[in-house]
Structures are given as structure tokens and as C-alpha cells.
């Protein structure tokens, strides 16, 4: 019996089903997910990314930080994310609406970075970490990203951007444009706003009253 046509039709139907269920259904579902406008604060959340942050996200992508870092805080019943202080609540789909390239990641060789902006006070701390991680975090396995910095001879006065790191006398270390945008992006990573749907993932905080109306995308 010649089964060729059946195989062909079946293979087509199967792929169409797979695509509809996994891709199309989600495309439609995500289409209705919009930033949340908070009338009290007069702002919408998540906050749009300024240009330097968007450029920093590209640096994060092209250097492949996602090989070692995730950007997703899981619910309290799924591991130690919240006890580790990786966020005040679990991540929800809406948090990522402005990410051009979503980098959820799949291996936690380093800590989750979804809220790292809340953990570090100043850009200087991030620069220290990227330039000399073994000094900032002793025993750490984070590789140093020295090529994101320029070492130059001090001519006249030391630059106000120079890092506070050990360097040959008469020299200074200055972050490059790429380092600046990367750090702007890291500082931006902070999901603290309580969306209506976060009542499910943010049990400690009271959810706002009008929450039940919008449950999509949790």
C-alpha cells in the first residue's frame, strides 16, 4: 500500500496542531497583555526602557550572560528563590513586556538577576563586580569582564568615573560605553510593582481591590 500521501497529510496536520497550540494560542494570549496604568501614580508599569537600558540589554544578550544567569523568580513553592531574596515576589509575564529579547535563562550557575537592581546600591558596585568579581565576591565563579573597561594613564586629574580598584600607580580604570549601558540595564532590573495578577505570586501583600477583573497573563 502506498502510504505516502497519508504520511504527508498526517505530518502536516501534526505540525499545524503543534504550531496552533504552542505558538499561535500564545501569540493571541500575549496580544491582550498590556502595561498596567496606575492612575494613583500617574505612570504605567512595567516602566519603559530608556535608550541606554535597551542598549545595555543588547550587551547582556550578546555577551551571553544568560548562559550562567536566569531572569525569573519562581514561586515560593518552587524552590528557594524568594528566601534567597531574589525578589519580593515571583515574576509574572507582564514584567517582561518591554524586553526586546527575553532572557529567562536555563541554568543558575550564578544568582538570578531579575531584581539585581534592587540589591546593588550604586553603579560603582556593579563596575567593581564586572571588573574584579573575585574581589567583590571572594571565592566567586563569575568571570571578570575586563574588556568592558579601559585602563589609561592619568593625565592631570584622576577621572571622576575611575573605579576604586587596585591598579598600577599613575593609571586609572574607566568603564567603556558598553559597560555603562550594561550597568544601566542591571540597575533597571527591579520588579517590585504589584500588578493585579501578582496577588497569586505575592501572597504577603494585599492585592488591590480591582484586581480580580484582570487575571490574564499570570
Amino acid at each position: 500500500m502506498n502510504r505516502g500521501p497519508y504520511i504527508f497529510l498526517g505530518a502536516f496536520a501534526l505540525l499545524a496542531f503543534s504550531w496552533t497550540a504552542a505558538i499561535l494560542a500564545n501569540q493571541l494570549g500575549y496580544g491582550t497583555l498590556t502595561p498596567h496604568y496606575d492612575a494613583m501614580e500617574g505612570k504605567s508599569f512595567p516602566a519603559p526602557q530608556p535608550g541606554i537600558v535597551a542598549r545595555g540589554a543588547m550587551v547582556y544578550t550578546d555577551l551571553g550572560c544568560a548562559a550562567c544567569h536566569t531572569q525569573q523568580v519562581r514561586r515560593a513553592d518552587l524552590g528557594g528563590d524568594l528566601t534567597r531574596g531574589w525578589g519580593e515576589r515571583a515574576s509574572v509575564a507582564r514584567d517582561y513586556l518591554h524586553e526586546k529579547t527575553v532572557q529567562l535563562g536555563h541554568n543558575r550557575i550564578g544568582p538570578d538577576l531579575r531584581n539585581v537592581g534592587a540589591r546593588y546600591e550604586s553603579p560603582e558596585d556593579f563596575y567593581q563586580l564586572l571588573y574584579a568579581p573575585e574581589q567583590a565576591l571572594p571565592g566567586s565563579n563569575m568571570p571578570a569582564y575586563r574588556f568592558l573597561f579601559e585602563e589609561s594613564k592619568i593625565s592631570g586629574e584622576r577621572s571622576k568615573d575611575a573605579l576604586d580598584v587596585a591598579v598600577a600607580p599613575g593609571y586609572q580604570v574607566i568603564p567603556t560605553e558598553r559597560a555603562r549601558s550594561l550597568v544601566a540595564y542591571l540597575s533597571y532590573l527591579e520588579d517590585v510593582y504589584a500588578y493585579p495578577e501578582t496577588q497569586y505570586v505575592y501572597p504577603e501583600k494585599e492585592a488591590s481591590d480591582d484586581a480580580a477583573a484582570e487575571e490574564e497573563g499570570q
Binding site: 497583555l33 551571553g64 535563562g105
Partner: protein, 488 residues
């Protein structure tokens, strides 16, 4: 060219085979060579990446060789370099042999093959210089993807022409897998690229598309061709038909149906809709159906014993691949149990499962098929049996070491991350599992030894095929059990 002299009394040597073999010899041997060279490249990169996990300063001073770029380089070299080149070789061979039809103009297929490899190189250079798209297995920049797409069109068209010319009405199970994979890949590729590289899906919908794509490159292309190769070679080498052949159709359809959603399980617990997570996890459990059916086909055929006169080098790899397929299927179920994935999700266990699917199952099956195909096309036995033995044992040892080390590393890692009190600092967590990563690095080295043996053997075989004249004394590497597939 008349293979009769090297393959006496074999149904393989019906005169029409000479015509068929001549029509595919050059492109298939090219694919085999390119595949083996990429395999060595991918393993070297995998080794570098695992050294960097223990020695973070290793090659960290230049953006091109940082860990974050080596990891996607290794993955893409393994899948698009080794995996696809080997899959094309196997697909063309199985199609031509089982359809009993010659390929069209081999020169055109060869052009497709050359451009495919140029596309992979462009893509890897793109990743290296910082143009990665950041999506799993779709890291190559758009221009490289376009070259791959066009090359696939050329290669795929020549396989499709083989099917359209077929003289054998019956389609054997290997051909279902081949035909379906041939059709699925361009769609999966188009959907993934259109959604993520050329278009834009918003938010974590990107992550859903990326795991769907990444997993279907395995589930709807590499795995079907590897399964097809096992279904082709087991009966051929063992001299008996597939056990429970009538069930194979159920295995085929249920595998495709459930495996296509398996990737979504990687997102269990991630910020994506709950039904997506449930679909992924439940599909992994439903994979029990194809696993039982295909397992019955494979094990039932294998347990009947080996024919007198040995079964040749190909079968060892094929058997390993068949068993690895079943083991991988069981492992996936274990890691889909919520009480277990609480620990193992987002750890090295993911990488271990990739190695299990891509290496232990798919690659070992492809290697087995290549050991079967090349001597027939070259009309020479393999130049060195010792190199084959070395390749087999180093592959077995290497893949077992790599997978076991990564699973243990992942369990230690996940347990430590979830236990904040005992492991407050990340330095403690890394120290807790870094011993296993040394194991993984050694595993990659072990693999590399065998793959170099493979590459050397292939280069010598190709040299013989071009300049070696014709062999008259086939070695015991060439036992000839009867061909059974086409009759069943």
C-alpha cells in the same frame, strides 16, 4: 563503478545499486566528512566551556572567547554542524536505498551541502563577534539563518526528488520518519525565525517560541532521522525483521505528537501561562506510549541474538543509540515529576538531558549509520578497525561520564540553591558541585579522543575511495545478512 567485487552475494549488490550509489556518493561522503569535522570542533568548544566553569579566568579576556559565547558556539556547532550534516548523509542514503531510486544531479546537492556549511560558519562567526540573537539554538544572526534556509531547500529538494522517483511502492518505517522530518524542519525553522529573529513576539511568549523551536529541532528533525536509522539498521545487521512491526506506526505518530510539546516542560514554574507548563509536563509523561512501542520494536529485535559471523561495527553504535533513546525517555519523565524538578530545574540537569538526547541517542545512531554507509559508498572496508573500537569505547565512556557528571552537578547545585541556610553564598554553592564539573570536562576530553579517531578513519576512507582502486578482499567488517526491510 561496480560494488559487486567488494560485496559478493549480497542483495546490496544488485546492479541498480551501482547507479544509485554513484548518484549519491560525492555529496554523502562530503556530508560525512563535514559532520565529523564539526563534531571535533563542537567537542573542543564544549571542553573549553566546561573548563571555564571551573577556571573562570580561562579565555575570559577577549569578548569572543568568553563563556557566554563559547556555550552557544558549542551548541550550534554540535547541532547545525555535526547533527545536520550527519542527518543529511543518513537521510539521503536511506531514502535512495529504500526507494531504490537514484538522486538527481549530485553536483546540485553538493552545492547545497557547501552552502549549508558556509551558513553554519557565518552563523558561528556572527555569534563570536557579538551578533547572537540570544534565543536558544537560534543564536545565529538572521543572514546566516537565511543561507541555511536556502541550502536546506536545495538539499531537501534532492531528497524529495528521490522519493518522487521511487520504484519501491511500499514505504518502510524508516522512510516515514525520513519523509516527515524532511517536511517538518523547514516549517519549524520558518516559524521560529519568523517569530523571533525577523518578527517580534512580546514578552515571555519569546521564551515559549524558543523552547518550542529548540526542542523541535530535536523532536521533529534529528530524532526522527536517528530513529529511522535504527529501524533501518537493526533488521539489516541482525538478519531478522523488526519485532512487532505493525505497531511501529503507533510509535511514529505518538512520538511526534507528544515529543513536539516536550520542550515546554522547560518552562514549568516560569512566568508563562499555566496551561503551557502543564502541556509540556503532561506531554513528557505521555511519551510513555511511544517509548513502550518503539522500545518493543527495538529491544524485541535486538534480544534475538547476533547472527553468526558477527554484526559489524555499525551495530554497536546503533544498539547504544537505541538504548540511549529509551533511557533518555525515562530520565525525562523522572525530571518532570514536580517534587524532583523543584530541585533540578534551571540547573546542569538541563544540559545533561541535552547531551543525552543529542549525543547519547541521536549522535551515536548517526555514527552507527555512517559506519554502515561509508564502506558501501567507498567500496572499501574501513581502513582501521582499531580506530573504530577506540571510537566506540571512548564515546561510551565519554558520554556516560558527561551525562552522569552533569546530572550529579545539577542535583547538588539545585539542592544547594534551595537550601539557603546551609549555602548562603554562591561561592559555597559552586564549591559544592565543582568537582562534578571537572568530571564533565574529562568526559569531553574522552569523547574528543574517539572523535579524532573517527575523523582520521573517515579521511583515510575518503582517500581510499578516491585513489584506492577497488578492494577485492572484504574484511570481516562486511558480514552480509540479508536485506529485510523492503520485504516487510
Amino acid at each position: 563503478m561496480d560494488p559487486d567485487s567488494s560485496l559478493p552475494q549480497s542483495p546490496d549488490s544488485r546492479p541498480e545499486w551501482a547507479e544509485i550509489d554513484a548518484s549519491i556518493k560525492v555529496p554523502v561522503l562530503f556530508f560525512v566528512y563535514a559532520a565529523a569535522a564539526w563534531l571535533v570542533t563542537a567537542t573542543v568548544l564544549g571542553f573549553i566551556a566546561s573548563v571555564q566553569l571551573v577556571q573562570p579566568a580561562f579565555l575570559a579576556d577577549c569578548a569572543w572567547t568568553t563563556h557566554g559565547r563559547i556555550v552557544p558556539l558549542a551548541r550550534n556547532a554540535l547541532i547545525y554542524g555535526w547533527g545536520f550534516n550527519a542527518a543529511f548523509a543518513v537521510l539521503i542514503w536511506i531514502s535512495a536505498r529504500l526507494c531504490r531510486a537514484p538522486a538527481p544531479q549530485w553536483g546540485i546537492t553538493l552545492v547545497g551541502a557547501l552552502f549549508w556549511n558556509i551558513g553554519v560558519k557565518l552563523g558561528l562567526i556572527g555569534i563570536m563577534i557579538g551578533q547572537s540573537t540570544g534565543h536558544f539554538l537560534m543564536e545565529m544572526p538572521g543572514y546566516a539563518a537565511a543561507v541555511l534556509f536556502v541550502s536546506y531547500g536545495i538539499i531537501g529538494a534532492s531528497v524529495a526528488i528521490i522519493y518522487s522517483r521511487r520504484r519501491e511502492g511500499n514505504l518502510f518505517v524508516s522512510q516515514w520518519y525520513g519523509l516527515a522530518a524532511l517536511f517538518w524542519f523547514p516549517w519549524v525553522f520558518t516559524i521560529g525565525q519568523a517569530a523571533l529573529v525577523f518578527g517580534s513576539i512580546r514578552g515571555t511568549g519569546q521564551a515559549i517560541t524558543a523552547v518550542w523551536y529548540g526542542h523541535n529541532i530535536y523532536a521533529l528533525f534529528l530524532a526522527p532521522i536517528a530513529l529511522g536509522a535504527i529501524y533501518y539498521l537493526l533488521p539489516k545487521r541482525l538478519g531478522r525483521p523488526i519485532a512487532g512491526y505493525n505497531w511501529a506506526a503507533l510509535g511514529f505518530w505518538s512520538f511526534a505528537l507528544f515529543a513536539t510539546f516536550g520542550g515546554l516542560a522547560y518552562l514549568a514554574g516560569s512566568p508563562v501561562p499555566g496551561w503551557v507548563q502543564a502541556l509540556g509536563v503532561s506531554s513528557n509523561f505521555m511519551m510513555l506510549v511511544p517509548l513502550v512501542v518503539i522500545g518493543y520494536n527495538f529491544l524485541g529485535t535486538m534480544l534475538g541474538g547476533t547472527p553468526a559471523g558477527g554484526s559489524g561495527p555499525a551495530l554497536r553504535f546503533i544498539k547504544f543509540g537505541a538504548i540511549a533513546f529509551l533511557v533518555a525517555g525515562l530520565m525525562i519523565k523522572v525530571f518532570s515529576v514536580p517534587q524532583i524538578y523543584v530541585t533540578t530545574q534551571l540547573t546542569f540537569v538541563n544540559e545533561a538531558m541535552n547531551q543525552m538526547h543529542w549525543y547519547a541517542f541521536v549522535s551515536m545512531s548517526f555514527i552507527g549509520a555512517i559506519y554502515f554507509i561509508v564502506p558501501r559508498l567507498a567500496t572499501h572496508a574501513w581502513p582501521s578497525g582499531a580506530l573504530i573500537t577506540a571510537h566506540f569505547w571512548s564515546s561510551v565512556a565519554g558520554v556516560v561520564i558527561v551525562v552522569a557528571s552533569l546530572v550529579l552537578a545539577g542535583i547538588a547545585q539545585g539542592g544547594a540553591i534551595n537550601d539557603v541556610e546551609a549555602y548562603p553564598l554562591f561561592a559555597d554553592i559552586s564549591a559544592h558541585y565543582s568537582g562534578y564539573l571537572v568530571g564533565a570536562a574529562l568526559g569531553f576530553l574522552t569523547l574528543l579522543v574517539g572523535q579524532l579517531a573517527f575523523l582520521v578513519n573517515i579521511l583515510m576512507a575518503i582517500y581510499q575511495a578516491c585513489f584506492g582502486g577497488r578492494v577485492t578482499d572484504p574484511t570481516p567488517l562486511f558480514p552480509q545478512p540479508p536485506v529485510l526491510e523492503v520485504n516487510s
